[in-house]
């Protein structure tokens, strides 16, 4: 029988003990004495969220294909277990072997959103690994971070030994080979970090020193170790049809957020929306072959027994073989009781046809993400969606029987005026108005429009990385204004307005564009009990504000400040292919309300062509 790290008594006292026992279907079992390297992969949030993440499934499969590596997993203990582990001094353990994480060679932490930063400290603390990289000894694992937030790792740089910048499929093999040699040789911790710093895409923060100007901006970002590279180049998997992709994903024993097979059809996006970080850092767009996807759909459904398959990508309608893939999935699996969960599609004849085939029209809704309420502001953000297209798509759908529409917008976008905000209300109203032009006897009851707004957070490596973010007060004022305008609409009874919390957005904004000075604040807030900040019931804004104050940090410096072009940004040492010059040009274009064509229409010379793959080497239609 497997020995569990937690006693029966603890497991029967806490919520959902299955979070901590492992033993999921398709879990990899290896003898730890037969491997050279033990790697613990961590998603710093609760099990149900972490287990829903595709990236970890890919890397778990990839690492475990090597006979000399045993990759295991760990997620954040929920607050109930957190308390018990602290009281009883139980070290955090990996799910597979149930062994303490501190006994591993590596602890790899995926950084999917800024609000998980205190959970990283919780993971380190409960693992009994020193929180600061500088305090770790030869006995401790190497702590390595990766994922979208690694594109500005500076706020959490002090807690990590390394960051992996780019896609995991590329240089981990090399890193593991080097580590194996190093371990055999018996080198020191610092020696290995120097070796790792030589690997493309690996950033070792302790080999760099940041100097600041009086005004708090960066004066210099200096290398202080000769092995450190001046620029860290993002790693890209150039051929997504001949690379790692799991055939037997893990199947959790409890219901998780994504309880289905996930098929990533492409990576990257051609659209170039100016607020979107994913659209820039994953450039260039690379599609997977249809045959590869069909094969994986078969194998993954068979190996998991899931009753649902979903397609994942940015702007899925841009996947060229989408109709063929979707019709294949419908024909092949619908009769076997498999649900096909569609990504949000551009509403056209194809979309309406497949939606009617896989969803109950009466229960499902149409989704549009205009992001901004007016054409002017949509041009600023380069969201090539016009009111005409939205109204036509909605009307086509209404005539096919749909009567629910979801709309997603952002408040606080650069250059936003009151008219732009009012545009959200009028657009919502226009769609409702469109519905009521259908003769009453042909309508399917009332129309239901749900408009949601989130607050815009400027992100690194976007054209808006220099932009001033609105303050919490300004956000709330915008929200109040919009709420009022919604009520003035003729069809306001058909419109529901949802909004987000402003306070958590402020913190996200600080972390997104923060520098190394923020690390101490994260540490102090964690010590005061902040964890699970992404969960509103555990988010303590007042504690954060107080901690910034105690550290004499004016957080507005990070959020509500327009940057100059020549300012050294904390993430400037990372080379994502897309150049700073291009991003600045796009920022200028935004201010001029000028739309930039997408990658398939005309190459804009963003710099991503240096990766020599994907759309950058495709033949263009024009």
């Amino acid at each position: 029988m497997r020995k569990l790290a937690l006693s029966d008594e603890i497991l029967l006292t806490i919520e959902k003990p299955a979070r901590y026992i492992g033993n999921e279907v398709n879990m990899v079992v290896k003898d730890k004495n037969e491997v050279d390297i033990r790697f613990c992969m961590c998603f710093p949030d609760v099990y149900e969220i972490g287990m829903s993440h595709l990236g970890i499934q890919i890397l778990y499969d990839m690492f475990n294909q090597r006979d000399d590596v045993y990759c295991e997993r760990v997620y954040s203990p929920w607050v109930d277990l957190d308390k018990i582990m602290r009281e009883q001094n139980i070290p955090l353990f990996a799910l597979e072997s149930q062994d303490p994480v501190k006994e591993f060679d590596f602890l790899g932490i995926t950084l999917q959103y800024e609000m998980c930063y205190t959970n990283i400290l919780q993971i380190l603390d409960l693992s009994q690994i020193p929180i600061y990289s500088s305090e770790r000894t030869e006995e401790d694992p190497f702590v390595i971070g990766g994922g979208p937030c690694a594109y500005n790792p500076e706020p959490i740089a002090d807690f990590f030994d390394m960051f992996y910048i780019g896609e995991g499929e590329t240089v981990y093999d090399e890193l593991m080979d080097l580590y194996k040699e190093h371990k055999k040789r018996g080198g020191t911790r610092k020696e290995f970090l120097e070796i790792a710093a030589g690997v493309e895409g690996i950033y070792v923060p302790q080999f760099y020193q940041v100097e600041y100007k009086k005004d708090g901006t960066i004066a210099a970002f200096r290398r202080i170790n000769e092995h450190a590279k001046e620029k860290i180049k993002k790693q890209v998997e150039t051929d997504l049809s001949h690379t790692y992709y799991p055939e037997k994903p893990l199947v959790p024993l409890i219901k998780v957020t994504q309880d289905r097979v996930v098929l990533e059809i492409q990576r990257g996006c051609i659209r170039g929306c100016r607020f979107c970080q994913a659209g820039m850092i994953y450039r260039p767009i690379r599609a997977r072959d249809l045959e590869f996807l069909k094969d994986r759909a078969y194998k993954m459904l068979k190996a998991t027994g899931h009753e649902e398959i979903s397609l994942s990508s940015l702007s899925s309608s841009d996947y060229i073989n989408l109709p063929e893939l979707v019709y294949f999935l419908i024909d092949e699996f619908r009769s076997k009781g498999v649900n096909i969960s569609l990504p949000s599609l551009r509403i056209d004849a194809f979309a309406l046809d497949v939606m009617s085939k896989v969803q109950d029209v009466k229960k499902s809704s149409l989704t549009f993400a205009p992001e901004a309420g007016s054409q002017r502001l949509r041009d600023v953000i380069n969201k090539g969606l016009t009111e005409e297209v939205i109204l036509k798509g909605a009307m086509d759908a209404f005539q096919s029987g749909w009567n629910r529409v979801k709309l997603y917008f952002m408040l606080g976008l650069p250059t936003e005026t009151l008219e732009d905000i009012e545009g959200i209300a009028t657009l919502s109203n226009e769609i409702a108005k469109e519905y009521y032009t259908i003769p009453k006897q042909e309508r399917n009851g009332r129309v239901q429009i749900v408009s949601s707004t989130s607050f815009f957070v400027p992100k690194p490596f976007t054209p808006f990385q220099w932009a001033r973010m609105a303050t919490a007060e300004e956000f709330l004022e915008k929200q109040r204004f919009l709420n009022g305008k919604m009520k003035e609409q003729l069809n306001y009874k058909s419109i529901k307005y949802n909004w987000h919390e402003a306070e958590v957005t402020v913190l996200e904004g600080i972390f997104a564009r923060g520098d190394r000075k923020i690390g101490k604040v994260i540490y102090d807030a964690y010590k005061k009990g902040c964890i699970y900040d992404a969960w509103s019931e555990f988010f303590h804004y007042d504690v954060w504000l107080q901690t910034f104050e105690e550290n004499q940090i004016d957080y507005m410096f990070y959020t509500s400040r327009e940057r100059e072009y020549d300012e050294i940004l904390p993430w400037d040492f990372i080379d994502i292919g897309v150049t700073k010059k291009f991003l600045w040009k796009e920022y200028e274009q935004a201010k001029n309300q000028t739309v930039t064509p997408n990658c398939r229409q005309a190459c804009q010379g963003c710099g991503a062509a240096s990766f020599k793959c994907g759309v950058c080497i495709e033949k263009r239609n024009s």
């Binding site: 299955a18 026992i21 409890i254 027994g305 009781g337």
Partner: protein
């Protein structure tokens, strides 16, 4: 459509998986296997499955039952192998039988269950456990407050405790059948008791309730974590009329038959 009944066990870390998740587990395992399960008709078809009796979180078992409807079937051996090949070692199918078309669900047939209660190592229990338990169970009445979601009422457990024993042979002799292989965990302290209790929709006596009554009778604080409860078998009573049970002292004599004794091996 073919009706079939499967018996399965649940051991080790799988005891932490609740009933709803066990249902989901089987739905996915059946999809991974070659079993030709029948689906309901309608917009969101579901597999036609029915479980005999939910097992509480923390309990292990050799006697869980699942009734399933199939479009086609292979031999029992093939069906068992097909499922076990895609399931964890801590949850394995041990029997597969084709049922007559007019069979009732195992849930509606349920009348009694066998349990093994073991004291976990590292916990204290009532000293002289065996003697104390014996005198507890031989009382004329065994009164305890039974709490449900809606009400609290005093019940007498005596008519619903059908058999007990402190060793496997002793219990087997009392119930008149052999228990077979078990996945139950063993504990060094060796303190344990076997119980046969009323089970099902008419009246359901949980072993925890008997333990609690035992502790109360001895002025000993009942610590649910101190005991491992293992379900051994589920029975139907072929002498019971519909909606009735035959507790101790009733005029009709019980004829308890394990649920895996119905139907035919394919």
């Amino acid at each position: 459509m073919i009706k079939a009944r499967m018996k399965f066990n649940k051991s080790g870390s799988m005891k932490f998986i609740g009933h709803l998740d066990v249902m989901r587990y089987f739905q996915k395992a059946i999809r991974r296997s070659d079993i030709d399960v029948a689906y309901s008709t309608g917009y969101s078809p579901h597999q036609l499955l029915s479980f005999a009796s939910p097992l509480g979180v923390g309990l292990t078992s050799d006697g869980e039952y699942l009734d399933i409807q199939l479009n086609s079937t292979k031999t029992s051996k093939e069906m068992i192998e097909s499922l076990n090949g895609v399931m964890t070692e801590e949850m394995q199918v041990t029997s597969f039988r084709i049922l007559p078309e007019d069979s009732k669900t195992s849930m509606s047939l349920l009348a009694a269950a066998d349990y093994l209660i073991s004291v976990k190592d590292g916990y204290q229990t009532i000293p002289n456990f065996k003697e104390k338990f014996e005198s507890f169970i031989n009382q004329k009445e065994i009164k305890i407050i039974k709490k449900t979601k809606k009400s609290e009422k005093e019940v007498d457990l005596k008519p619903f405790i059908y058999a007990y024993g402190f060793t496997k042979p002793e219990f087997e002799e009392k119930i008149g059948r052999n228990l077979g292989d078990t996945t139950a965990g063993e504990y060094k302290n060796g303190i344990k008791v076997y119980l046969q209790l009323t089970c099902g929709s008419v009246n359901n006596i949980k072993p925890e309730l008997v333990l609690e009554a035992f502790c109360q009778a001895n002025n000993w604080e009942y610590n649910p974590f101190a005991y491992q409860i293992h379900r051994i078998e589920l029975y139907t009573d072929t002498n019971a009329k519909k909606g009735e049970i035959n507790p101790n002292g009733s005029q009709t004599k019980r004829n308890l038959v394990p649920l895996d004794q119905f139907g035919e091996i394919a």
